[in-house]
């Protein structure tokens, strides 16, 4: 190994170690709190003297004032984020197919508009969105959050899927057209299977965006039984004497589904299914 390679490797570590610490320390902190008793939580130890699973038991049994609707709220989070993921995919895939493959008129305008929406921070749109939803009579209805999340996720999703579908060789479409495929058959039998990796990535993005959403969920939903778990977690801080260990235990449980989703779909996040389609 020569000097340059050692230096290259060292630079990698110099960047990698701080990033790893930056990411892992809060998670470790979260976990540490959730396995500590109320008294020792703020003890400052790197590992509690008497680690306990009692906090998780309380959360799962909904055995605390703030946790009376835990299962209901996690179900809300799940329902809203999965629906957001599915609807975003529906909107974005059809839009990307129409713009990139069918080359519809005005496609460029849609793409530029999609990009432009990101010049406006989502927080600025919170109040207009609230007014719009109230106009539709959807306040405190979970559809309001779903629709808001689809609106926020779609432009990016369309952008990503358009870029990905531009990479699919146009000859595949032409071969399918000569083979007798209608645009809908082309979409279903050729386009969707080949876009699968990107669809998974975009679907997961929209799902996690909705899962992690706090501001819009807080604004649009208010009933204890309709709020998502993220809002419920915020409620923990409404008292002076917050049960930190329970907050952290709930937070830890709240973080598990995204981790599981990433683990399951990690293959799709990087896979390229198109190899072998055309000679490159």
């Amino acid at each position: 190994m020569n000097g340059r390679r050692i230096w290259g490797e060292a630079k990698l570590w110099l960047v990698g170690i701080p990033i790893a610490l930056w990411t892992l320390i809060p998670i470790y902190h979260l976990f540490l709190f959730s396995i500590s008793s109320k008294d020792s939580a703020f003890g400052g130890a790197l590992w509690p003297d008497h680690p306990t699973t009692r906090n998780f038991g309380i959360v799962l049994r909904q055995d605390h004032f703030y946790l009376h609707h835990f299962w209901h709220q996690i179900w809300n989070s799940l329902l809203i984020s999965v629906t957001t993921g599915v609807l975003t995919l529906l909107v974005a895939t059809t839009a990307a197919f129409a713009i990139s493959r069918l080359k519809v008129r005005g496609g460029r305008v849609v793409m530029n508009a999609a990009l432009f929406t990101y010049f406006i921070p989502a927080a600025f749109l919170a109040v207009p969105m609230y007014k719009a939803m109230s106009g539709f009579g959807l306040l405190n209805n979970q559809w309001s959050l779903i629709l808001a999340m689809v609106t926020l996720a779609s432009p990016y999703a369309i952008w990503v899927l358009k870029q990905a579908s531009d990479k699919l060789p146009v000859e595949l479409d032409e071969a399918a057209i000569v083979d007798g495929a209608t645009p809908l058959q082309l979409f279903r039998m050729v386009y969707l299977p080949l876009m699968a990796p990107s669809l998974v990535a975009v679907g997961v993005y929209a799902l996690l965006l909705a899962w992690n959403e706090y501001l819009y969920a807080f604004l649009l939903l208010s009933n204890d039984k309709s709020v998502t778990l993220s809002v419920a977690l915020g409620h923990f801080l409404s008292a002076d004497d917050s049960p930190w260990e329970l907050l952290m235990a709930t937070g830890f449980l709240y973080a598990l589904p995204p981790a599981a989703i990433y683990y399951v779909f990690r293959r799709y996040m990087v896979a390229g299914l198109t190899s072998g389609a055309v000679k490159s």
Binding site: P169, E171, L172, E174, A175, A176, I177, V178, D179, G180, A181, Q185, M189, V190, P193, L194, L273, T274, S275, G276, A277, V278, K279, S280
Partner: protein, 349 residues
């Protein structure tokens, strides 16, 4: 099977016309090759026959039916693409059966037709593989299989061999030719490789800059090129061109080199022209055109001599083995000389 007729077909992208009124008549069962340099419009023409490009003006008929406004799938054609365009998520079987599936052909019939095509192309063992598990030649064969199972009236090939290595290209060339002799389906084949055109075609259409330069059988084009472009494009190594000037009974090539006028050439003294001689029509002799050797390349079967004739690079291919040294003088006796108009390139004699 069907004849394909193109009448004054034009294609414009915006204000730019790229195909300028092309007329071709391809007989039923004929193997027609469109050949020309890149950008000459041959692929666009093929895509117009397929229905993948709209026709700006003119008329295309397949089997006597005008297809200008008919969708590709209704034209009863099958196309083989340069980069294969196989569906990567489908097995070879599904790739080949895709069109039948779309057409609603019964499973059993589809099985039979795919197996038949696979048998013809030697793909039986590969039906359950995916395109990524195949070699370049196998992929190309699957692409052809996909075309065959449809039993179309016309096969369209868009430079199908240009992605293969040289050795495989020669083998596949023979294979496609054999396949055509067996199926006798009308084929339109686009290539920029004149050797492919010469070896495979019943009829060659030479195109340049959106125009048809000449249509004819391979040997017809070789023996009787209509103009300088066709003469230079067909034949390998390419024909030598040397400018000259008529001077009474001789044609002066400059630097004191001249040759007797060509029978049938009716030009007055002082007229300028371009002479063309194929490398294989130059024989080394004791007298005749004097040239200076630059490089000698023996290939075993024959010898290629690169030299300067009156200041112009020319190239001769002779059967005998010669060991000329660079700078040495050599004399050629041209056996067949063509004459072209120096401005228009049209054949004069």
């Amino acid at each position: 099977m069907a004849a394909v007729t193109l009448k004054d077909v034009r294609k414009a992208f915006g204000a730019t016309e790229v195909v300028h009124g092309v007329g071709i008549s391809i007989q039923d069962g004929e193997f027609c090759v469109l050949v020309g340099p890149s950008g000459c419009g041959k692929s666009t023409l093929l895509r117009m026959i397929a229905g993948l490009e709209e026709i700006t003006a003119g008329e295309i008929a397949i089997g006597g039916r005008v297809v200008n406004d008919i969708a590709p799938k209704e034209r009863d054609i099958a196309m083989v693409f340069q980069n294969y365009a196989l569906y990567p998520h489908m097995t070879v079987f599904d790739n080949m059966g895709f069109s039948l599936k779309l057409a609603g052909v019964a499973r059993q019939e589809m099985h039979k037709r795919v197996s038949d095509a696979a048998g013809i192309l030697g793909l039986d063992e590969l039906l359950q593989r995916y395109p990524r598990q195949l070699s370049g030649g196998q992929r190309q064969r699957v692409a052809m299989g996909r075309a065959i199972v449809r039993k179309p009236q016309v096969f369209l090939f868009d430079e199908p061999l240009s992605n293969l290595d040289a050795k495989l290209r020669v083998a596949m060339r023979t294979e496609i030719k054999e396949l055509h002799q067996r199926l006798r389906t009308t084929a339109v084949y686009v290539t920029h490789d004149q050797i492919e055109a010469m070896t495979m075609a019943d009829k060659i259409v030479v195109m340049n800059a959106g125009n048809v330069e000449q249509i004819g059988t391979p040997l017809d084009l070789y023996d009787n090129p209509a103009n300088q472009f066709v003469a230079g494009f067909i034949g390998s190594p390419a024909m030598n061109f040397v400018p000259g000037r008529v001077n009474g009974d001789i044609i002066d090539l400059g630097q004191g080199v001249s040759l007797p006028s060509i029978p049938g050439l009716k030009l007055q003294s002082g007229a300028e022209l371009v002479l063309g001689v194929r490398p294989e029509h130059l024989a080394v002799s004791d007298g005749g055109l004097r040239a200076e050797v630059v490089v000698v390349e023996p290939t075993g079967a024959d010898t290629q001599i690169f030299c300067k004739l009156a200041g112009h690079d020319i190239n001769a291919v002779v059967r005998e083995r010669h060991a000329f040294r660079p700078g040495e003088a050599v004399h050629f006796k041209p056996q067949l000389v063509y004459a072209f108009d120096s401005a228009s390139g049209a054949r004069l004699a």
